[in-house]
Symmetry: C2
Subunit: 428 residues, 2 copies
């Protein structure tokens, strides 16, 4: 099955908004084993939209439209697309009632009501997070057309809860994907280690790089979910065997999610003392809803005085070794364990750049310490390869801190013999 | 001048990467006054790429290609595009030397060398952040074609430093854009207030919403930069007159950039005490290179014990009013000023969700306090309209804290009579 995405919106052509909708839909289609061959963006222009829709219907089995369903633009996208597919629009009474309920007593404008007009005979996709319903219907030549709202907060739940199940029904096979998440090995070396496994047709194996981490996606196709899972398992086990403890989870969302989960399971708490990451590690931990049970305190000690005052880092250490040193990282981790009474403490100090680097202490040099109050481990990150951004150094240092906590809680050596080749991978 | 973007890369069709390149190029074209009418993505497939390029050349004056220039895929994109434009590829000796220098003594593979093959007679766009050069050339029908590398860290500097100046040369007019940044008024009310100014043709005025803020873009076209600027100024002044102190700057990147700059200018320092934002405010301040001069210390006090211990929040306040209360926010701000010795302190406490809300204290209720050690101001954010994400609440609370600091430093009333209608704007 070949698919195509058309995103509608002048704001996308002005660059005011990044087209994250296309990526969300692309991932879902990939998970269903549907080949996405084209995506395009057109502005709020009926003629160009008509041409794009006609081209898509003629060459694809599935067309996914995103955006242009809202109260201001609905005429254009729905009418144009329906007309190109040979359909009229009809009032869908349940959708009208949902819209009226949504606004409660408030007046429902004519534009708002127009959102309930949908292509005749379509399958309505409910919008649980907004007013504009989506829909699925067939063009006269058999091409399936999905229409989804533009705001990602409306599109993503509608896609996963209603559109994907709808597409699954029409698929003969079930497609199951599992992501094997890896920290400490880059995409290139991982791909090399898995070279002989990459040619499989069912399951398939593909490597992806993502912000200093990488993951392997294992995908199988079978008449049932169970059968597809059974096909995936041996390959996942083989990957785990080869990569060992560099694999931090299968189908885990992020290192921070795993760390919060492990801390909760073990009844442990974590505190953070950050210098160059400036609160990013705390921010990532507290991105996880419910993290308050395991994360009670963090400090951002940019100034030396703050390191001394909040963490009790001895002035002698700062004078003798400087703020960016393994000794300072160690004292910060130990200091935050002491100050917070938490089970574990992280200390991070380094030079995130772009300013502040020297020959001895270049931009990208970062020390990360983990202490459990008895023992303390210090990792060193050195800049490798081409110049990276401030964001990159900060993100990777926070990730490495999370990985050290993960390794500690999993009973693994805290300091893996990491190859930071991984940090060099990026989109080709 | 009508333009089109083709982004090349199977990873974009799999949703592994969001197409931020298209948005970066779109913004630059918009700034040049070039109309972008289509963008599309094609995978690494020669036939489909050829069709897309031929269509684009036939209907557009400018085609911008992004991606597919790297050492693994260069043949495909460059050869296919050059062939569709009626050009051969030739070896560009200076680019080959740059690539050899980049790798220093290391072996330069044949694939790496192929990056130096470019369309005959093209204008070469130097890559200061990678190996693959970009280029600009004319197709036989006169369509201008730009080829840019895929990684945003390579594309953005090449675009701004080399491609935009190249495009400006061929433009009869200079286009100048200024962004008037606004905090505390949403896109819809701002657009309404500016309704009578929106119809102008030179300069033009357009509103944009962006993560709980909005801005107005003023764009003028004239034979010289000075003349274009002169056209913009009266409109910018009129906007400032109507919006008053809701305008926080013209051509400023972000609230955090402005706040760091104002603090530096005034020789003041800021410290942060965060609960529900969990380090995000500290992270945003330290996103700004050089912020260490004005930001010495931040704490993330998720637990009540941490609020008492680090900030000296009296247990009586927490018991009587709860952790999410104006009294606690006030005590946090005062406590961090005391603990840090900074000129200003921020305290933030609230419920970011999705868990933890109650009828009296719903998700989205957040108190933000600013103290200068003598006086303390507390702002309250209440949830309005449809349910927002944890990220949204956290981001908006941090923005409001930054705006309070901005207002304090600018000598304005710290608590504006804000209309948080603004938080409801989003992409339509």
């Amino acid at each position: 099955m070949n698919a195509e995405i058309i995103s509608v919106g002048t704001e996308l052509l002005l660059g005011a908004v990044v087209n994250s909708d296309a990526a969300i839909v692309a991932r879902a289609l990939s998970g269903l084993g549907i080949n996405l061959l084209h995506t395009c963006v057109v502005g709020d222009n009926p003629q160009r939209l008509k041409e794009a829709v006609e081209t898509a219907i003629s060459r694809s089995d599935l067309l996914v439209m995103t955006g242009g369903l809202g109260p201001t633009a609905d005429d254009l996208t729905k009418e144009t697309t329906a007309a190109a597919a040979g359909k009229r629009l009809c009032l869908h009474q349940p959708s009208l009632e949902r819209i009226q309920n949504y606004f409660n007593e408030r007046q429902v404008s004519e534009n708002q009501q127009k959102q309930a007009w949908l292509p005749e005979g379509c399958h309505v996709l409910q919008n649980d997070n907004g007013t504009a319903p989506g829909c699925a219907f067939q063009a006269e030549n058999g091409c399936t057309i999905l229409m989804l709202p533009g705001p990602p907060s409306e599109l993503a739940p509608m896609l996963h809860n209603y559109a994907v199940p709808y597409l699954q029904q029409s698929q003969e096979f079930t497609i199951v994907s599992h992501n094997v998440r890896i920290y400490g090995r880059g995409e290139a070396p991982v791909a090399q280690m898995m070279d002989d496994l990459m040619d499989g047709e069912n399951p398939t194996l593909a490597p992806y790089a993502n912000e200093g981490e990488c993951y392997l996606r294992v995908t199988a196709k079978a008449p049932s979910q169970e059968k597809a899972d059974q096909l995936c398992q041996p390959l996942i086990q083989e990957i785990q065997k080869r990569l060992g403890d560099f694999v931090y989870g299968v189908d885990v969302d992020s290192l921070e999610e795993l760390v919060v989960q492990l801390l909760r399971e073990q009844g442990k708490t974590l505190a953070t003392a950050e210098s160059c990451t400036g609160g990013l590690l705390a921010k990532r931990l507290t991105d996880i809803s419910g993290s308050s049970a395991v994360f009670h305190m963090g400090v951002v000690t940019y100034a030396n005085a703050a390191k001394e005052q909040l963490l009790g880092v001895p002035p002698g250490i700062l004078e003798a070794h400087g703020a960016v040193s393994p000794e300072t990282a160690r004292a910060m981790a130990q200091g935050i364990v002491e100050a917070s009474g938490s089970s574990l403490g992280i200390g991070i100090t380094g030079i995130a750049g772009p300013e502040g680097g020297t020959r001895e202490k270049p931009v990208g040099l970062i020390y990360i310490a983990l202490s459990d109050g008895r023992e303390t481990w210090v990792a060193k990150r050195s800049p490798i390869g081409r110049t990276k951004s401030r964001d990159w150094h900060r993100h990777c240092a926070a990730s490495q801190a999370l990985d050290m906590v993960r390794r500690y809680l999993a009973g693994l050596p805290v300091l893996a013999e990491h190859s930071y080749e991984g940090d060099k991978t990026s989109r080709g």
